[in-house]
């Protein structure tokens, strides 16, 4: 019992980085109400991020004395990964949206960004269905505020309402699915649920498990914009500013995939794979989800003449690629190459290139002229050579050309998909790999079209926009990550591989009360 109590008491210490972020957010919220200002609160916000990052890096929590089936949080390498990605992503998003923010709303925006980052970190740490749900809501609710903040024009309001309603709906689905899982296993602790699955206590109720899993997939599918839960993305991205759009493209996907990995038990304190063993239909469901998500995403992106809508559909397609890793993971004999580590790598690559693309649009836009049509970018190579080169790099990375992050990511996912050994499954996943390859070629069509518009055409109406200092910093970070992950990915590969492996194998559960 002592171990259990000690474990419960450790929850606050395990959540220290999030506490730093949320405390900073309180300071910014309160202070911003009395003294609006972009520079000062932006700086405080950055300090908060740095503080949280320092806590993450220099205050690792020792899990060896904790009981997984009791613990509310589980700060294993996956959590470590999620926190670092969230915080670094938060800093880049802050810099990217800086110029767009009006002076008076900056503090609120920054504070929301801090809370949302904390939410992502908590998703990575959550070892309880309830904590997981709260963490996901901690991401959603600040997002509503951020979408509503500008209140400019009808499209922005429509986007906010659309996102709000669909997000609430998906949360309800998720909660409903969680309730089934609780009903079947009698516990909300994720490790305990997996253990119950592993002990086959619930094999009598496969239908309920399947229904619960289905609702969970639907609820999380909304966050990762998996087809058919992707409808909101293009409208919302188009209607809102570049900063919030970049955020929506990146943050919910990180949270969604990490939550998937946790809930499916691919890594974490519980026995690996147990949920899958109960519902064999689950990998098939993910297979189908991956195939239709990337295909629909890519095919619909071909028809877009608005860059932001195109990026929304491209985000859908990239989610499809990452779903490859989820679908194939149960069948991998060697889980360190491909599968979950590949997803974690691709999330970073995807974040760098997508946030970077939005940052370019942001740099080109001015208060009176929002750049988002394809034709706005005509001849960009002549008027803004630096920005054109950056955007071309991100687009080449999305195509998956070598020496960019996108290639290193796709390569690892493909290795995973082709690595299955069982004959029946390898047949199935070879087809999935072929579908993915065809999709990569379709994707190249519309990314290349944009590159062609920038480089092979002359400017119609030259764009006035210039990147400010913060925009340049954000872009430099995205370019840096895209190139670094593409040219010499070894360090990041080690990091994601470490995060993606099941850190605490089954025998740790022996010490359970």
């Amino acid at each position: 019992m002592d171990a259990s109590i000690a474990t419960l008491q450790s929850a606050f210490r395990q959540g220290a980085p999030e506490a730093v972020l949320i405390l900073t957010a309180f300071v910014v919220f309160l202070g911003g109400a009395f003294r609006p200002g972009k520079l000062v609160w932006g700086f405080v916000c950055l300090l908060g991020f740095v503080g949280a990052l320092l806590v993450v890096l220099w205050h690792p929590f020792d899990l060896s004395k904790c009981v997984p089936t009791v613990s509310v949080l589980w700060t294993d390498p996956l959590c470590h990964y999620t926190r670092i990605v969230a915080i670094v992503g938060g800093v880049v998003l802050l810099l990217a949206s800086w110029d767009e923010l009006p002076h008076t709303q900056a503090a609120d925006y920054f504070a929301c960004l801090l809370i949302l980052t904390a939410g992502v970190g908590l998703v990575g740490a959550a070892n309880e269905l309830v904590t997981m749900f709260l963490a996901l809501e901690l991401i959603s609710i600040p997002t509503y505020v951020m979408l509503y903040l500008p209140r400019t024009g009808r499209p922005a309001q429509e986007a906010a309402v659309k996102y709000f309603l669909l997000s609430i709906f998906s949360s309800a689905l998720l909660l409903f699915g969680f309730s089934y899982l609780y009903g079947v296993t009698g516990t909300t602790n994720i490790a305990a649920i997996h253990e119950a699955f592993a002990r086959r206590e619930v094999t009598m109720l496969p239908g309920l498990v399947m229904a619960g899993s289905l609702f969970v997939v639907a609820g999380l599918g909304f966050r990762i914009t998996a087809v058919p839960f992707h409808f909101y993305a293009p409208d919302v991205y188009q209607g809102t500013g570049n900063g919030p759009a970049a955020l929506l493209a990146f943050i919910p996907k990180v949270a969604g995939f990490v939550a998937f990995i946790r809930l499916l038990g691919f890594t974490g304190p519980g026995p690996v794979l147990s949920a899958i063993e109960v519902g064999v239909e689950m990998p098939l469901l993910l297979w189908i989800l991956a195939a239709i998500t990337m295909t629909i995403g890519n095919v619909l992106a071909v028809w877009q003449d608005d860059v932001k809508r195109m990026l929304a559909y491209s985000g859908v397609a990239h989610s499809g690629y990452m779903l490859l890793g989820l679908a194939v993971n149960p069948y991998l004999a060697d889980k360190a190459n491909g599968g979950v580590p590949a997803i974690l790598f691709y999330l970073i690559a995807y974040g760098a290139m997508t946030v970077g693309a939005f940052a370019v649009l942001q740099a080109l836009s001015t208060d009176n002229r929002a750049v988002s049509r394809n034709d706005d970018l005509a001849g960009l190579a002549e008027t803004h050579p630096g920005l054109a080169m950056a955007l071309a790099l991100f687009l080449f990375s999305m195509i998956g050309l070598p020496l960019t992050a996108g290639f290193a990511g796709k390569f690892q996912l493909f290795v995973g998909v082709l690595s299955t050994t069982a004959p029946a499954e390898s047949q199935m996943f070879r087809w999935l790999a072929l579908i993915a390859a065809v999709n990569a070629a379709i994707g190249a069509f519309y990314y290349l079209r944009l590159i062609g518009i920038m480089y092979l055409r002359t400017a119609i109406r030259p764009l006035p926009g210039r990147a400010g200092l913060t925009g340049v910093l954000a872009l430099a970070a995205c370019v840096g990550f895209t190139v670094w992950l593409g040219v010499y990915p070894a360090a990041v590969v080690k990091f994601t591989r470490n995060a993606g492996q099941a850190a605490y194998p089954v025998h740790h559960l022996a010490g359970r009360p």
Partner: protein, 549 residues
């Protein structure tokens, strides 16, 4: 400088040149920088290659049974790029930067650096607009082209293979003809689509080997060695596994390489890209980039999947190559545009290469390898000459010209010379390659392929090649003088100047030297060609055993 450092230097010098050219202020400065960079690169390549050739010739002609049956590159350099997880205690496998030289790539490396010089010279006055950018992309193209040939890691090969797309996309798209955007897009997308499927094949063979041997490697020589070990062991259950794996991998690789060659049904991007590309782009596209496809077959597809290459590769690709030879030649004959004629002649001539390689015997593979170098020289030369003609009159339509030999004497001499080399006149380079391919096609031994038929198609192809090229010569350069309409106030059109001669003369000399003395190429590649042949013979024996049962 060690050869390894020279290999790195030849990859880095063009990139450094590209970076300097990109930031230079004027076209003049950029082209000067480009010329210096390609000359330095050629010097470095010669310094690298020339001492290696005697080393290559000195090797034993056939690997002994004690040695692993695989390529054994010299002067290799490797370091890890993307490490993979391994079981504790075992060495960590990785995607490597693994480069080296052997008989198959040494001449293609030299050809690449060699053709960069005329590519710069021919752009000298043709490119005025955005010159700094142009020379930057041109130089940037050299790095991946050389890299593909150097690469001995399958994924590194793919990396360079795909990277060639970007510079050429911009070269065609920005400085091309009226339909440049379509041409650039089609070129990029066709090659990329094939390439991604080839990537699946490259990953697939690694995984197939890993599943059987427990060893994860992307190094081409090691992969071939492991596959051969298993195939030679000849356990029937494993054979079924390897047969299926080889089929899938071979088809995936073929998807990528056939587009690049290009073979018959997927060749449609080539004429468009060639016609629209600026002359330098056409020269490098025909001279080097098409070889990436045939080189891929020779380096990766055939040695890694010999049984599939025999069972499916020989009938399928030989048939497609034959169709390509005749179809390309007939299309070339029908063209009014000289550049399009040369482009279709490439389809026809690359068909010879593929046919030679998939004869899967010593003569055929030697011929295919020689023809790669020959085609690079002669078609590169043809595109240079067409570009020079176009620069003078701004038309490429055959009916616009007549009797140009009277006006442009030196140009005509070169044109006739290069055409002769292209159709394979004895004494010039094309002859040796074509004869070897013919010999290879005659003696082909593969199920579903008839040597006599292949040889007759080759003969018809050679004949048609002469027909369309000489018809073009007759209509453009001979007969009564009729110059295309051009600005009559301008000074009369002059013959080749010193710069253009500098671009053409080395190619002409190379054509003669290789025509009279092709032995260094054959000798230096002997061991590697014999390795491939031995691998193919093994596949033939296995097929015979299966048939016998």
């Amino acid at each position: 400088m060690t050869p390894q450092m020279l290999i790195l230097a030849t990859l880095i010098v063009p990139l450094v040149g590209a970076a300097i050219a990109a930031v230079s202020r004027s076209t003049k400065a950029a082209r000067g920088i480009a010329l210096v960079a390609v000359l330095v690169n050629l010097a470095l390549t010669a310094w690298l290659v020339l001492p290696v050739i005697p080393e290559l010739i000195a090797r034993a002609p056939v690997p002994t049974d004690a040695e692993p049956l695989s390529f054994s590159p010299l002067h290799t350099l490797k370091f890890d790029l993307l490490p993979f997880a391994s079981e504790p205690g075992k060495p960590s496998p990785a995607l490597q930067f693994y480069v080296g030289l052997d008989g198959l790539n040494v001449w293609l490396v030299l050809l690449t650096s060699f053709l960069m010089v005329p590519a710069v010279l021919v752009s000298w006055t043709a490119i005025e607009d955005r010159g700094a950018e142009f020379y930057a992309w041109l130089l940037a193209l050299a790095m991946p082209m050389l890299g593909v040939f150097y690469a001995f890691d399958s994924i590194l090969f793919y990396v360079f293979f795909e990277l060639t797309l970007v510079p050429l996309y911009f070269m065609i798209g920005i400085w091309g003809g009226p339909m440049r955007r379509d041409a650039a897009r089609k070129f990029f997308l066709f090659t990329l689509a094939g390439g991604v499927i080839a990537l699946l094949g490259l990953i697939g063979i690694t995984i197939a080997v890993r599943n059987r041997t427990g060893e994860l490697t992307f190094a081409i020589p090691r992969l071939i060695e492991l596959v051969q070990q298993h195939l030679r062991a000849g356990d029937p259950t494993t054979m079924a596994y390897w047969k299926q794996a080889q089929w899938l991998v071979f088809l995936a690789l073929t998807a990528g390489f056939a587009v690049k060659v290009p073979l018959f049904p997927v060749h449609t991007w080539l004429p468009l890209a060639h016609v629209e590309a600026p002359t330098a782009g056409s020269v490098l596209l025909a001279g080097v980039l098409l070889k990436l496809g045939t080189y891929g077959f020779l380096r990766i597809a055939i040695p890694l999947c010999p049984d599939a290459a025999l069972a499916v590769g020989a009938p399928l690709l030989c048939t497609l190559a034959c169709i390509g030879i005749v179809y390309g030649a007939l299309c070339a004959f029908a063209q009014q545009d000289v550049k399009k004629l040369v482009a279709y002649s490439s389809v026809s001539h690359m068909g010879f290469c593929v046919l030679g390689l998939f004869a899967l015997n010593s003569a055929g593979i030697n011929g295919g390898l020689l023809q790669m170098v020959n085609h690079g020289l002669s078609t590169g030369g043809l595109f240079l000459l067409v570009g020079m003609l176009y620069e003078r009159y701004h038309t490429r339509m055959i009916p616009d010209y007549s009797g140009m030999a009277a006006r442009l004497k030196v140009l005509s001499v070169f044109m006739v010379f290069i055409c002769l080399s292209s159709v394979g006149m004895p004494g010039l380079n094309g002859f040796v390659g074509e004869m070897l391919i013919l010999a290879g096609a005659w003696s082909v031994q593969a199920p579903g392929v008839s040597g006599a038929w292949l040889a007759s198609v080759v003969c018809v192809g050679i004949f048609l090649g002469g027909w369309y090229l000489f018809t073009m010569l007759k209509r453009v350069f001979f007969g009564p003088l009729h110059e295309p309409h051009h600005d009559h106030h301008a000074p009369p059109v002059a013959d080749l100047n010193a710069r253009e001669l500098c671009a053409l003369v080395p190619i002409a000399i190379a054509c003669i030297v290789l025509g009279l003395w092709p032995q260094p190429i054959i000798d230096s590649a002997r061991r590697d060609v014999n390795t491939v042949v031995k691998i193919c013979d093994g596949a033939r024996d296995r097929a015979a055993v299966v048939k016998g049962e």
